[in-house]
Symmetry: C5
Subunit: 323 residues, 5 copies
Amino acid sequence: MIVDCAQYSDGVRQDVGPLDISTAAERSRSGNGFVWLGLHAPDEAELKEVEAAFSLHELAVEDAFRAHQRPKLEDYEGNYFVVLKTARYDDEREAVDFGEINLFLGPGYAIAVRHGEASSLNEARRRLESRPDLISVGPAAAAWAILDKVVDDYEPVAEGIDNDISEVEDQVFSGRGDPTERIYFLKREVIDFHRAVRPLIGPLESLESGKVAAVDEQIRRYFRDVADHARRVDEQLHSQRELLTGVLEANLALISLRQSEVVRAISAWAAIIAVPTFIASVYGMNFEYMPELDERAGYPLILGVMVVAVLLLHRFFKRIDWL
Amino acid sequence: MIVDCAQYSDGVRQDVGPLDISTAAERSRSGNGFVWLGLHAPDEAELKEVEAAFSLHELAVEDAFRAHQRPKLEDYEGNYFVVLKTARYDDEREAVDFGEINLFLGPGYAIAVRHGEASSLNEARRRLESRPDLISVGPAAAAWAILDKVVDDYEPVAEGIDNDISEVEDQVFSGRGDPTERIYFLKREVIDFHRAVRPLIGPLESLESGKVAAVDEQIRRYFRDVADHARRVDEQLHSQRELLTGVLEANLALISLRQSEVVRAISAWAAIIAVPTFIASVYGMNFEYMPELDERAGYPLILGVMVVAVLLLHRFFKRIDWL
Amino acid sequence: MIVDCAQYSDGVRQDVGPLDISTAAERSRSGNGFVWLGLHAPDEAELKEVEAAFSLHELAVEDAFRAHQRPKLEDYEGNYFVVLKTARYDDEREAVDFGEINLFLGPGYAIAVRHGEASSLNEARRRLESRPDLISVGPAAAAWAILDKVVDDYEPVAEGIDNDISEVEDQVFSGRGDPTERIYFLKREVIDFHRAVRPLIGPLESLESGKVAAVDEQIRRYFRDVADHARRVDEQLHSQRELLTGVLEANLALISLRQSEVVRAISAWAAIIAVPTFIASVYGMNFEYMPELDERAGYPLILGVMVVAVLLLHRFFKRIDWL
Amino acid sequence: MIVDCAQYSDGVRQDVGPLDISTAAERSRSGNGFVWLGLHAPDEAELKEVEAAFSLHELAVEDAFRAHQRPKLEDYEGNYFVVLKTARYDDEREAVDFGEINLFLGPGYAIAVRHGEASSLNEARRRLESRPDLISVGPAAAAWAILDKVVDDYEPVAEGIDNDISEVEDQVFSGRGDPTERIYFLKREVIDFHRAVRPLIGPLESLESGKVAAVDEQIRRYFRDVADHARRVDEQLHSQRELLTGVLEANLALISLRQSEVVRAISAWAAIIAVPTFIASVYGMNFEYMPELDERAGYPLILGVMVVAVLLLHRFFKRIDWL
Amino acid sequence: MIVDCAQYSDGVRQDVGPLDISTAAERSRSGNGFVWLGLHAPDEAELKEVEAAFSLHELAVEDAFRAHQRPKLEDYEGNYFVVLKTARYDDEREAVDFGEINLFLGPGYAIAVRHGEASSLNEARRRLESRPDLISVGPAAAAWAILDKVVDDYEPVAEGIDNDISEVEDQVFSGRGDPTERIYFLKREVIDFHRAVRPLIGPLESLESGKVAAVDEQIRRYFRDVADHARRVDEQLHSQRELLTGVLEANLALISLRQSEVVRAISAWAAIIAVPTFIASVYGMNFEYMPELDERAGYPLILGVMVVAVLLLHRFFKRIDWL
């Protein structure tokens, strides 16, 4: 599905509604600015049409159709194919929803194929349209706008995970409920998210350092800015993995410790009841000659002894902190 | 055993049935296209014949006969020897079956020696035969077809392991049975599989980057595509190892936690029975003067006290969540 | 807020009070020494004014305004933008307070934008003012003074953490209280602090090795000195992470061990009371013919037997070290 | 002790019995083939004689005498000194016995000084003598023969460890005995063995890549073959370390799990006996009015109730899988 | 404090007693051999004098005075400043005592500033004085003598730690006492020691590879020898860290296992006493009609039954290995 398509030249967008594919391809060859074509979850026919109109390489188009690639930047003789992962945090499910954007860059065109819901590119387009100075740079400006949007959208995901880690820490150290499963699945999300972010840094550094010929000197520091955000997220995710490992270990230590405390409390109570039970069993013996049994005060006295024993034991276990 | 052998030139396969070794060797020297010879688990005599006919290096042939090499790419002065591991997932046994393909590439010939059942190369051959443009590239095209098939076959293995990890997660967090042994052997499979995949990335990157002289510019991006799939599998395996480590730790925490719960429940029941037992032992004492004993209502009253004590204790332990 | 602003030339500070921004910018273009402008938590208007007066790059200014960047050194065509994290240890809360300094360096000016309380730069300025030989080097001297101060301020933080680790070790091995939570949050602080220090080493090494054009040969060894301090802190933090991991593991082992000791002690006491209780229950049996029951000495004898049994058991458990 | 010493030229061994040192040194300077001198655990005098006769460097000779070096390849201006570790697996003791070979290579000579029992070099010599084509390459051929033998001998060691790991896995998952100590010492052996193998890969890659001037193009692929075997062993050891770590973790989980099962079974039996004991204590009470006591059927009835209670409890605990 | 100071030229030491600083500095400029000045824990005045006399760089002198640097090699335009850590093992306290040597090398002088007790340099000086051939190399020979001594002194430290690890292993697997604290502090020592050794390898490799201009070709292989020893110690420390991690894990497993055994033994004894107690409570019931009670043989019979029950239970628990 074509989301939007327009020619950008002389620093402004030239068209209001979306161009169709063949017009766009024609304009891209006019040598006047560039065309930005945005597709969302296109079907095979649409992609074939785009492939033919812009003479894209079959391997790149196949990747764009199948999606589920790893982030990468590939050079097809001056045309570039970029894959990047989009991410959105669903705080309810504590899960990261991933999407994918496939980007074709060539002289006169930038084609963005988006899969999944995250990181709608309308905002990226608006961001570009507000910067006439960058539009004049060519299709790399569109690439910048898209990468900037996608990487900016990583930050709320990392924040969301940070929040959940704080919650999990609370849960672990307050001893409320069992956070083991939550910690595990949070770590799983972090690992998956890291897998989406980390491989992008290489391509971004290629764009930043000018290894990619199509990228103008002027816009390279904008890519550096994006790369820097990606590196920040990468480092944050690295820390989060460490924290989640640490919190799981702390959790294990605390489970052991709490079991230990339970065992102590139980044992204290067992001792408290064992002593009067023993006393009672002594006076249940059937010896002929047991002087206490004949005393009128015997029974209340012994009950008193039991109570005192219980109280002393209770105080003792309180003092050694078992109760 | 010769599986298939044919000459490829002018974009098409020239022969229907398999050529014999000497004819194949002769044709390979004709300067007209190349010969693709496929062998499966050949005996020593066959390999010696091939070695002589194509003047292969003894060390490479020895490796191809012994199999059990690590993935590698070796340069014998313009002839290349590639070792790669094939893999197939046996979901029943949760085990990866490995095989090996040894590939000799030289001017005019591509010889594939396959050991083990995984990754039959018929499909690779068909894939190549449907691409006349690639056939004209020479023997490197056969290498591409084989590598592409082998690496494509890695993906269902990684998927199978992913499924088993999900099952193991269910088992761990639902507390059904003990998944420790299963987790361990799954991790063992992942380690073994990773050992088959990881060393292949180096050779694939050599092919991709043009360090290998025999590889045409045009086909290098096809190798890049294969390398990219291998890198994806490598990253997936990396994550799987982390997940399996994590799930084993979570399992350990949950075992401790469940033991803790059992200890609490047991202790609660012990307390519930200890209290009436104590009461009974008190009225088993043989004191002369125990007024309760002489009351007609004494016995039913005490039974009632016992029942009430049990009910109160039960409610108490329910409330503190020990039962 | 402008903290201080002065021109430095001919080895001395030229102005007493702070210059205003436009004067400072004018002087910076005079080719005579350089201007050091220090701002603390400036508002947007102030930064815009500085941006305009010194023709700074918008991306750098945006970073300086938003703060929360990772440490980095960026080259804007001969002008440099440096981000570094300041740190201060709050021993009370066992937490590191982070701040940030953004540094713009160009021909004739050094602008420091500080956020947060840590590492006030007055001292850095005084340090520079006492070194006329370095002032003549130009704005890089101001960069050195600031970096030197910031990295020097890392050392008390690392020391503070070292002290807390020693305290935690004491706590773990003496068995007083439960240090799990403290260890975890200490590790968290170390991870965060490491994230502030480690990325700074790259930029410092660029300054040290002369990759940054604006840095004079003479001052490079001063940057090497700073880089060396940063590397020391980095290695110290690395060790601290390992120690905290180790102390958590030791803690877990000791929790298990102490639980084990508690279980033994409890069991010993249970045995000590179970034996006389059993004896009493034997003499509570109602057999017609139990000769001991009729003996006058029976009761005291049995009480004696109970005492002896208790003493023997107690001694036994002492000897096998369960009590 | 001189084990063997002969001159090799024109593709064949020239001498039957061992040459003495001075003759060997003279022949080595004849420019006709090379001399291979093999020593086993030589005393200082012998080494001094060899040092003088072949003008070896004192530092290398000192290393060869002291043994206990790490594997390395050192260049003494066109003469080379190689240290490598030999290994032999003693399956009885589950221990690796290490030895050391010090190799001096120079124009016209190869001197092997062997310490320890493993990897006798007679076989290496025979291997070389069967390859006239390699003999003509010069002393590097002797180096190849020795390295090939030593690295080949690593494989049974790694196999032996693999077998022991399988045994340990059986032991862990069947729950027979406690394999903790065995796992630990196995891991220790793997770490030691890895320390012998890993540093050898660098020198082998130097030989393979032609960084060592004395090594002929023709023989470099034989070194590549040896390097490849060493890399395989290295990767295998890497996996073994991971497996042993994993098996220790699994072992810990299973110890916890089995303790948990024991606690459940014990608790079930405690409950089974506590209930009839409680019933008996009730009828041991001395109330005047307890109608059951006067019934003739009371006693057998109560015994029956006890039996039924025991049977029901037993069935219940069977069903919840505690017994 | 000046420990010793002498001029070395023409292969021999020229002076008997220590020269004073100004004479030494003068001689160092004579172009005749070099001066080796050794200081131990100098005060600020002494260092200032040396700084002035030899025109040392202020930053290096400041480092040498403050000590507590990390090992490094710094180039001050043809003068070199080396920091290295000395170590000595105090087996009593199982602690490594660290010292520091700061070395200034320049044309005509080598100045060693030593802090701490470890690695007295008298021996290094004697080692150099016995090698006229090396003396003629210049000040680098003094550097070699010092580095060789310091690194040689690392080996007994590593040995001492190895011994303590063996002792700890014995303790863990024999179950005597609790080695947790000892393991932890041993690991702490290894981490600290590693931090002293590892950063030295880089500088040593610079000396070995000739990156340092002042180092003569002839002496570089002596530095290679030192570097090699340092690498050996580094690898040994790496293994020791792994072993200590492993031994702590094994310790944890064994604590769990032993707790498990204790729980079983306790439970067995509890069962052994619970059964006769139950029997006694049955015959403590007050039923009118309990025929056994009236039998004369009843009491001894029941005592016999109790004994038999105890014996059978004991045998049973022996057989299932709980006792």
